[in-house]
């Protein structure tokens, strides 16, 4: 009897930890970081972390959708810079915040539609197509500005530096984008189709899904997020920097991966990505608070990514085995 009870308890715990493991890790980090540094657990510091991660996290949500569909976007950082630069330029020309914002988003969408077109029309591997876009978009940003930064943005800074009820605007945008992504992935046909395409493209096509159209849409939405991130970034630094965003695509991918998105496609969630972004944010923050040397920080981050992914894969294998067990169990009842 006691044996049976402890079995049930273990089964319950393993179910809990496998389904919510990522949230438990976040919670554990929160506790450990608070113990390690008294400066960590304060409203100001947590608000700072949120603001720091907000821009790459916005990119992360688009990246998550792409990775779920078996796609990738290496150009996110470059396109972000190009969109931000052109948004700044339009603002300086027109003085209209609305037109500037729209421009940034439209540029992001346009660049990604080009990538999506190359991927779907010519069957180019997404890695290659967006690698090409990465180079071209960066070139375009540098060409337009002649390699010079743009300064004196006046009102433009309210996007990135403003706050609403004390919460930084980029954080609010991040939360909204996370809800949008959650909605798209969970409540729309588009979302389900992304999972299906990433899980088995042939079967998705044979199920009547418009595969190319869905991929284009995913690139477009992700482009809109990237464009938005570009506007927020330039606004926050109060400058148009053509060299901004180098490596942002990898930070975005990191948050996705830590959050449980599978590079084999078909698996991933919006909330996972948000949590993944916070885990990385906490990690960066605590390492800074503890005064860990910055090059060393990079090595530690690399290690964490490997551990997280290895753990995730191992726990999934276990889960599949236990599900198999359940089926045979049911077979017996029947």
């Amino acid at each position: 009897m006691a044996q049976r009870f402890s079995d049930m308890f273990l089964a319950f715990m393993s179910k809990l930890t496998s389904k919510y493991s990522i949230y438990l890790i976040l919670l554990a980090m929160l506790v450990i970081c608070s113990l390690l540094s008294p400066a960590f657990f304060s409203a100001k510091n947590l608000s700072n972390i949120s603001r720091q991660i907000s821009i790459t996290t916005i990119i992360s949500f688009g990246m998550t959708m792409l990775i779920i569909a078996g796609l990738i976007d290496l150009a996110a950082g470059s396109v972000m810079a190009l969109a931000g630069i052109l948004s700044v330029a339009i603002y300086k020309a027109t003085g209209s915040l609305v037109i500037a914002m729209v421009t940034g988003i439209v540029i992001g969408i346009a660049c990604n539609l080009v990538s999506g077109f190359v991927v779907t029309r010519f069957k180019t591997p997404p890695f290659i197509a967006t690698l090409a876009m990465m180079t071209s978009a960066r070139g375009a940003a540098l060409l337009y500005t002649n390699g010079q930064n743009i300064y004196q943005l006046d009102q433009f800074v309210i996007f990135g530096q403003g706050d609403i009820f004390g919460i930084p605007t980029p954080v609010i945008v991040m939360v909204i984008i996370s809800l949008v992504t959650w909605y798209l992935l969970n409540n729309t046909r588009f979302g389900r189709h992304l999972y299906a395409i990433g899980g088995n493209e042939d079967a998705a096509r044979a199920s009547g899904i418009k595969v190319n159209q869905t991929k284009m849409t995913a690139y477009a939405i992700s482009g809109a997020f990237v464009g938005l991130a570009g506007v927020l970034f330039m606004s926050r630094v109060n400058a148009g920097l053509p060299n901004a965003g180098i490596g942002f695509e990898f930070d975005a991918m990191t948050a996705s991966i830590i959050g449980g998105t599978s590079f084999s496609g078909g698996v991933g969630t919006a909330m996972g990505t948000l949590v993944g972004a916070f885990i990385m944010g906490f990690l960066n923050n605590i390492m800074n608070l503890l005064g860990i040397q910055s090059y060393l920080q990079q090595i530690i981050k690399g290690g964490i990514i490997v551990i997280a992914v290895a753990y995730d894969i191992m726990s999934k294998n276990k889960k599949t085995a236990s599900q198999l067990g359940n089926i045979e169990e049911r077979g017996k009842e029947a």
């Binding site: 409540n187 729309t188 046909r189 044979a206 085995a321 049911r330």
Partner: protein
Amino acid sequence: MVDVPLLELRGIEKLFPGVKALSEMSFAVQAGSVHVLCGENGAGKSTLCKIINGIYQPDRGEILINGKPVVLRDPLEARSHKIAMIFQELNFIPEFTVEQNLFLGNEPVNKFGKIDWAAMRRQTVALLEQEGLPYRPDTKLKDLSVSDIQMLEIIKAISYQANILIMDEPTSAISTKEVELLFRKIAQLKSQGVGIVYISHKMDEIFRIADEISVLRDGRLIDTRPASELDIETVIKLMVGRKMESVFPEKKPQAPGPVLLDVQKLSQGKTFRDVSFQLRQGEIVGFAGLMGAGRTEVVRALFGLDEISSGTISIKGQPVTIRNVQDSIEHGVAMLSEDRKRYGIIPVRDVKENMSLSSLERVMGRFGIDHREERKRDTEMSRRLNVKTPSLETLISSLSGGNQQKIVLAKWLLRTPDILLLDEPTRGIDVGAKFEIYKLITELASEGKAVLMISSEMEELIGVCDRIYVMSKGRISGELQRKDFSQENIMKLALIG
């Protein structure tokens, strides 16, 4: 003197988290004999084979080879004990050639560690010749058919010169001719003293080759007897634990309705030519033929997966153009592919998502997908098809083949199609689930749907269909009415040309 068995398992027990997959499993394989394992999916046959092949380790019990206990920690260790396994699911690398796949992990090398391509070619040619297979060693596997690949798997396992050979449904994807080839091979191996463990659902096969038969049910050994003491009825009875009334469901005779699908002179390059046939409402029409006769290609083209070069398709009297899958779905057509793994399921997603995939627009509420409505509908459907799954959130890949097939079928039924194209709907499915699928097909027809069914099992077509078209070499070589149904008549037409 008592013969020491080649392979003996004693009291094997295997636990997966929360469940016993095998318990008190004991059985033995004598040298030079074929031991067939029967049982419904989930009975533990595959788990048992994976234990013999070192993929799983038993939690209790021992494995003896020639009377000596051994521990098999992985397949390589099993191979060192001369155990080889032919998997039910195909393991191959599409971009590799025939010879590269044959020698994968076992490549001949020279003394510098460089692959000796010439030796590999020589050995491959010799092996292919010896087995009487007409493939070129430098063909890429992606250019071969499923049945060719299965044959390669078989000769690959044989090439390890194993003493103990495990075959997990080796004939589920090969044609009658190749089955003969395989059986001759098995006889030859037996005479060389090889012990064979053979899993199959096909009763006629089992009785042709078995020396001994063990029946498994729910992870336990029900009985082991010499094949000569058993018959099909008894084996089925032992497998399901109840007596089967009849293998095929009764079909109420009814006058066929109007023509739903009319195909005229459909052609596609060299694969099929001038294919003309009709499907009427309420009718089950079979497509018989040998592997490569062009049956799969015809239904793929009808469903918009491949292009046609000429011909006309009319649905409900209207000529239609089918450019892609969406077009054919729009016209009320649904297709079940012979290759469930590739075209049927999204393995990493759960039962519900797989089931809903093609009919989400029917559960859209004001705020997107209405999850409650979806769940209600999917629950009803899985009840109707008797899908056995712990929940709708279970990964589809963790279910048995029969349940996966039911879910793929459910996906299409949720669209309420008029025309169902079923390509080998019972492939790799156990007897109990097969019967359920037959029953379902019959029900669907009596509800007024037109069903086209491709099958390589003639009995199945004879048992279920109202009419049978036979294809041979890309053409329809004949049409049989129910009164003329017989395996001989089908075979004659299949061999024409």
